[in-house]
């Protein structure tokens, strides 16, 4: 709503006849600004912009550029040789952890998307009803959201540890839930999902509160059941939230790092692309071009979803 005057103001620049009705025109406004104002505006934008460009966007571009070179990370920049796509073919063909890492990232996405996200949405729908103690249930569910994923790794160690863990004490087994490469990714996914559910519940609950109640009333007058009201009426209205949740889930699974890093630095069944990149930079072998190729893959995937996200939120903003 508040954007409407802005659009008028833009038109006002081309047709001066209307400036009287919208005094906030762009051209006029610029002329109204004093020299100090212009300096202040420039600084207000430029300082934060420089910081973000220097520490986020330039490194992102440099990552892409480095992925085509054989730089070892130590020698001078003049010794860099261009190797084209060799790093990429090496990553795919002669780097054993790559395939498990891809599988684990996809598994992570699938687990969050197929199990944790729908469950969070389901809980939001239940909590949106007027029930006693709703606040308590909500608080319990999103409590894990305030904890860091690194800390969550430790909290779940108390349950998963082989000799001192609760799970083995109850089940009487001897499984090393964090250490056994056959099971550890699932154990970690339970912990990651535990946090994700609360977060998704929160987003949907906010979305559901914003749904026009007359929609529901109309559906119930028509005799629609609660389930079909949700899927036919409410869910489609929540489209922007659905897309935001989708993007958040994808990005979250791509950025997953802290949890596996505190457990075993992303080895032995817990390989993730993010952990492989880190191992290649701060680990024992510093393979810059190689690590950059991995990083560029992450960057490319994330940019696709970031673009979708921006398109959705910007369109919502314009409403």
């Amino acid at each position: 709503m508040s954007d409407l005057p802005l659009i008028q103001a833009d038109h006002a620049v081309s047709s001066p006849a209307t400036t009287t009705t919208s005094p906030g025109g762009r051209g006029r406004r610029l002329r109204l600004l004093s020299r100090t104002d212009r300096v202040v505006i420039t600084l207000m934008v430029l300082v934060p912009l420089l910081l973000v460009v220097a520490l986020v966007w330039l490194p992102a571009l440099a990552t892409v550029a480095l992925s085509g070179t054989d730089w070892d990370g130590i020698g001078p920049l003049s010794e860099i040789d261009w190797v084209g796509g060799r790093n990429y073919s090496d990553v795919v063909n002669i780097y054993p952890p790559f395939v498990p890492a891809m599988q684990n990232n996809l598994l992570w996405l699938a687990a969050l998307f197929v199990v944790a996200t729908p469950f969070g949405m389901f809980l939001a729908v239940l909590l949106d009803k007027e029930i006693r103690g709703s606040r308590f249930y909500q608080t319990a569910l999103y409590l894990p959201v305030v904890l860091s994923l690194a800390l969550i790794g430790f909290v779940w160690q108390l349950i998963y540890s082989r000799d001192q863990g609760l799970l083995n004490a109850v089940l009487g087994g001897q499984t090393d839930w964090y250490g056994d490469p056959n099971v550890n990714i699932w154990a970690v996914l339970v912990a990651a999902g535990w946090r994700h559910v609360g977060y998704i519940m929160l987003l949907y609950l906010a979305g559901l509160k914003g749904v026009d109640p007359s929609l529901r009333e109309a559906a119930s007058v028509d005799g629609a059941s609660e389930t079909s009201t949700f899927f036919r009426v409410i869910f489609p209205v929540l489209r922007p939230i659905n897309i935001i949740v989708l993007v958040v889930t994808v990005i979250e699974s791509l950025r997953a790092f802290d949890l596996v890093w505190v457990i075993n630095k992303g080895r032995n069944g817990l390989e993730l692309i993010s952990a492989l990149v880190t191992q290649n930079v701060v680990g024992e072998a510093s393979r810059i071009g190689f690590g950059s190729a991995l990083a560029t893959i992450m960057l490319a995937v994330s940019l696709v979803f970031i673009t979708i996200y921006l398109a959705v939120v910007m369109r919502e903003n314009r409403r």
Partner: protein
């Protein structure tokens, strides 16, 4: 059932309906409460278990197993605090979190103000650049950033590493750069919703742009700033990756990434691990319980954040 609706505190039902939608059957409600109660207990359980374990002596649990009752002690906290030097690491977290949050809110509100106040074509690009930066995977920027940080010198009085690498300054800057995007996005939306007459009036009074920003817009943004501050304190306090890769000196690690060292020291004693975990969780839990409303509002204001 309608009786319970009436006795509810009015604050928690923003959309109070004149009449119940449909009188639900009592057994259905019971099932609903049983289900939600079970889920809530299940969700709280790992945290409660950590608290419980932290309060028991290792000797007792080693002898009787963890599924037992007794051996209550507070010693784990004392030992954990001393062994892992939590005092020092908490202080490090303060050194990083406080300036980073203040700087993020200041810089982000500047950009958001310009985006909301003017209708330049470039604004959408600016907003996109900031918002997207917040969503990029940090690891994909690590390689060049690591190199930059090891090349940029700092005077010795700023950091004993004499580099941006292994200094609080570097960590503050990288956190600010990453978190700015989210705050710009939320604040610019918030500011766009403010009535535009304010600026017309301010301009008639001859207020400079800086005064319009600082004395007109910012006071009106207090609710959004409070929500964002709560959220950013939690996020930057919880930040693990940058501190892990851009710090080297063990003494300088903030508390969340010092957890990784704690693992080695406490490896054989889960009771100590749990005491350490609870200690690290306390600041975020305090924020959560005191400022729950702000926290939730911040998250849903942006309805985003990866």
């Amino acid at each position: 059932m309608s009786a319970s609706t009436v006795t509810r505190p009015p604050a928690s039902t923003p959309t109070a309906k004149p009449a119940p939608r449909r009188r639900p059957l009592r057994p259905a409600r019971v099932v609903l409460h049983l289900f939600l109660g079970a889920v809530a207990v299940g969700w709280l359980f790992p945290i409660l278990w950590a608290v419980l374990t932290s309060l028991r002596s290792y000797a007792y649990t080693a002898a009787n197993g963890y599924v037992s009752f007794g051996g209550w002690t507070f010693d784990n906290y004392v030992t954990a605090w001393q062994t892992a030097e939590f005092g020092k690491h908490f202080l490090n977290s303060v050194y990083i979190t406080v300036p980073a949050v203040l700087l993020t809110l200041f810089l982000a509100s500047c950009v958001a103000f310009v985006i909301a106040r003017f209708s330049w074509k470039l604004n959408i690009v600016l907003l996109g650049l900031f918002t997207a930066a917040n969503l990029l995977p940090q690891q994909s920027l690590l390689i060049p950033l690591f190199r930059i940080f090891t090349e940029v010198p700092l005077p010795e009085f700023m950091s004993d590493s004499e580099l941006l690498y292994d200094s609080y300054w570097g960590l503050i800057l990288v956190n600010v750069a990453f978190q700015c995007g989210f705050c710009v996005f939320v604040l610019s939306n918030y500011m766009k919703a403010l009535p535009r007459d304010l600026y017309e009036a301010a301009m008639v009074d001859g207020a400079s742009i800086w005064r319009q920003y600082w004395q007109v817009t910012m006071p009106l943004c207090r609710p959004a700033l409070a929500a964002l501050a709560t959220l950013e304190v939690t996020w930057i306090y919880n930040e693990f990756f940058w501190a892990t890769v851009l710090m080297r000196t063990g003494d300088k690690f903030p508390v969340t990434s010092s957890l990784n060292n704690l693992r080695g020291e406490f490896f054989t004693d889960n009771n100590l691990v749990s005491a350490g975990s609870v200690l690290v969780a306390i600041p975020t839990l305090v924020i959560f319980f005191l400022l729950q409303k702000q926290f939730v509002k911040g998250l849903t204001l942006g309805a985003s954040k990866g």
